[in-house]
Amino acid sequence: METVQTSRLFFRRKPVSVDALAPSHRGEARTAFVFLLPWLLGLIFLTTLPMAGSFVLSFSHYDLLSPPQWIGLENYERLLAHDPRYLKSLEVTTTYVLVSVPLSIAMALVIAVALSQQTPTANLFRGIFYLPSLLGGSVAVGVLWRQIFGGNGLVNMMLGGLGFQTTSWIGDPRYALWILIILHIWQFGAPMVIFLAGVRQIPKEIVDASIMDGASPVQRFFRITLPLLSPLILFNLVMQTINAFQAFVPAFVISDGTGGPIDSTLFYTLYLYVEGFRNFRMGYAMAMAWVLLAIIAVFTAISFYASRFWVHYES
């Protein structure tokens, strides 16, 4: 640290050309290689080779005990045509993503706008709203949700007190998925924090000018806030969707790892886990992982393509 302080004092104002100082690029490349070595090794041995391996094995039958057998496209055929449970998991996951992601982003957006003023109260609210995002992925919160929406749970205590007929929400295939969707929306705090930073950067002049022109708060929201935040909306949309497709813990905890009742909470990755690690169909699970990757890639590509029609970038 001492070097920094002193050398800064002495040399700060003297312009020094980078080229004059730089050692040969060859030497620098060698240094860079040393710095990048852990990452490169990880990229090769923990990412690229495993991906290649899982791609090859996705065309095989492999139960971890006997050597893998090449079965061509059979796994993929089964996925797309002969496995109703897989199609069910795809349906459950897609519903989950399509409902919970837009709702949590809308919620995050509205609350962020309401908190745009930087006051102690607003920062307190920010903390309260953010906390669930920190805890939401844990087994403990899954346990809590199990109780709250169970037959004798908190929700039914309240509804029963009001004289309503009650049911076990997580035990009923009509409602179980919605309980998980509520859990996802409960975690709107993470995208909210991102929006909040964006809202607070909107230049005051633009807002003042619009007020002078007589814009109502609703008009300002749709004509100023939304367009200026649109890059962040795209970002949150893509990241939330990628994460939601991979949701695992809540469904696992609420359904005891089964995806029940009647597969109504059989998330994609839960089914992948069941097939790979309970039924030891590794090849099949790997095919599922590759289809998941394809789904995510297609979704991301579409989002970025479509973004040119609605995302507004300041020049």
Partner: protein, 286 residues
């Protein structure tokens, strides 16, 4: 700071309504957590009859009984989790800061391509790599050890952290590097004596998020750890659900749930501002 809603100060009633609505949402959202805390101190019979915070029968019984319910003290699982988190933090700090320095400051062939590849790995679902990794770790007998959970962290697999640190290092004035170079520092010394210490705020974020993600990384822990004495806190909690199914043990379950959440609460209290700013500037997932 001035913002859109400045004008709202001119309309106190509107502002009052807004704060009231926010408070209502905040109460609704935190009610489950508050109820969890209070219920963990209630006897079993009260938990299912009291939707509020009746603490007239305050008891520590749930904690005392729950702590030893799984045949060994719950502290064992907490320590297992803490150990894995600690190694994950060290690994990420080491490997990601090295890579970030190279990406942010050094010139090397294909640097743009390498950076793009790094960004693409951000989007990969872990499921395309974790199954073959499992097979590989199994073949060398490393399943049911911490190795598969920790080793990848020493090879910068969490590219998010590289990205975060690259962004931060790019913001450090190059004058600093050049001054040190004039003083005779080589690249390694510049990294170690200048960049690394100056990166402290970003490194704190890396440490916090390494901890959070590792603590909650249930999927990997579930597939790799198979014997109870190696279980992490979330796995132990999951075992607890199975062990107590049939009997009514929500009190104990709540108490142990709260214990596994405690480190996250503490982290939240200590680093609330850093967490919020970190997410805002880098888009890290909560």
């Amino acid at each position: 700071m001035s913002t859109i809603t400045d004008i709202n100060t001119a309309f106190p009633i509107r502002r009052l309504i807004r704060v009231g609505l926010l408070a209502a949402v905040a109460l609704l959202m935190s009610y489950p957590l508050l109820w969890l805390v209070s219920s963990s101190f209630k006897p079993e019979s009260i938990i299912f009859s009291d939707a509020g915070f009746d603490l007239n029968h305050f008891t520590l019984q749930n904690y005392i009984e729950g702590w030893n319910k799984l045949g060994m003290p719950f502290g064992v699982f907490m320590l297992n989790s803490a150990f894995i988190c600690l190694l994950a933090i060290v690994g990420n700090l080491f490997s990601c800061s090295l890579a970030a320095y190279a990406f942010a400051r050094l010139q090397f062939p294909f640097s743009r391509t390498a950076f793009a590849i790094m960004l693409v790995t951000l989007m990969l679902p872990m499921h395309v790599t974790i199954l073959p990794q499992y097979i590989a770790f199994q073949s060398v007998g490393a399943v049911n050890t911490v190795l598969p959970l920790v080793l990848p962290k020493f090879f910068a697999v969490d590219a998010f952290f590289i990205f975060l640190l690259v962004q931060f290092i790019r913001g450090i004035p190059r004058d600093l590097d050049q001054a040190a170079e004039m003083d005779g520092c080589n690249k390694y010394q510049i990294f170690w004596y200048i960049i690394f210490p100056v990166c402290r705020p970003a490194l704190v974020l890396v440490a916090i998020f390494s901890f959070l993600w590792t603590w909650n990384d249930f999927f990997s822990q579930l597939i790799y750890l198979s014997s109870a004495e190696n279980y992490t806190a979330p796995l132990a909690l999951n075992l607890f659900i199975d062990a107590t199914s049939g009997e009514s043990a929500w009190g104990m379950l709540f108490a142990m749930s709260l214990i596994t959440l405690l480190p996250l609460f503490v982290l939240f209290m200590l680093f609330q501002r850093q967490l919020a700013e970190g997410i805002a500037t880098t888009g890290l997932k909560g």
